[in-house]
Symmetry: C2
Subunit: 191 residues, 2 copies
Amino acid sequence: MPRKAQYDVTQVLDQAMDVLLEHGYHGSVMDEIIARTDFNRRGFYIEFSSKQNFLYLVLERYQQIKLAPIIAHLNDSHGLRAIEHFFEQYIRLVKGKGCLLINCITELGFDDARIREMGRHYLDNLQFSFIGCLERALQHGEIRRDVQLEATALQLTCYVQGFAVNGILAANTDELKLATQALLGPLATGP
Amino acid sequence: MPRKAQYDVTQVLDQAMDVLLEHGYHGSVMDEIIARTDFNRRGFYIEFSSKQNFLYLVLERYQQIKLAPIIAHLNDSHGLRAIEHFFEQYIRLVKGKGCLLINCITELGFDDARIREMGRHYLDNLQFSFIGCLERALQHGEIRRDVQLEATALQLTCYVQGFAVNGILAANTDELKLATQALLGPLATGP
DNA sequence: AGCTGTTGAGAACATATATTCTTAGGTGAA
DNA sequence: TTCACCTAAGAATATATGTTCTCAACAGCT
């Protein structure tokens, strides 16, 4: 029997995330992707077929291991505290890096229908999770009765994307934490 | 005397905005930029030196003719109504297109210090304008006294960037308008 | 140990792309 | 009209970049 593969595909995907976050899709050249993943050219094309297809796989995995676990808290956990927790974790994720999915949407959204679909699906899902969380918070009397759930959820979703952009520019994210509190405060029922 | 230049530099910059919005910086190839501006290769390099330098000029002009006029309303006009007006105009700007400055930040922010600086400057300025507007609204008794001005301004700034991303994906922006109302409502003094 | 067939590293290739050069043509003053 | 000098269009060039190919090295089975 022949030699066994010494690379781990998921690990390659994970390592590529940083490269793509730094330089974007077109800015990330194969030489650097190859160099910074424990991989080689030949294996790359056998495994992934093309740079474009590789991007899709990296994005799927990015959503799976980076975004989904953070969003999961919104579904599992309850109320306003869950939203606060979400933002804490999200800020940690995008701090100094930004969000790979958002970057790809802004770079490729017009030309690549698949990226666009990924983006729409992600935003819909996020908004849906916020709605569920707000509903539970409402049931538990944690937020004011006059809060419009859907509009507020969309608002929170926009806010998340804004964080992704800010994360690239802002070294220090303390301000973002304060802003989150200012955001959630008015939703809460008064003392 | 020789023939006079038949191109208008500012017009070329304006025409290039759409190309860059569609394909990003690396995705916009010179052939298309040349083809879609009333211009030619030779003149391009005589006038702009390089694609990179051209981008800086396009971005400066984008800020000047697209972003600055919208922000100006925050400084000129007063109170909550000015903020509402700002969002109305901003949504119109980014609808179906996104924001060129934001796109460049997400694509090039890591590699290009000048873009990063432009981005920081823009966000600082925006936040500053929001603060001024909120201060005046507070003086006029339009918003609740317990609103934290700086945190709220940063929050609004994040929100704006979220719109820029959403604008690329969302064909219909009615929801964004609703979300804005839901955002500003809680700030207002009660009935 | 010897064979087999895959791996890993990088050379090679074809294409794409930014930039420069060439050339035909035209404008406007003398 | 004539001429100087610029423009417009695109060919040419050099480089960058995605993809394929070559080949020595090696792990695992008999």
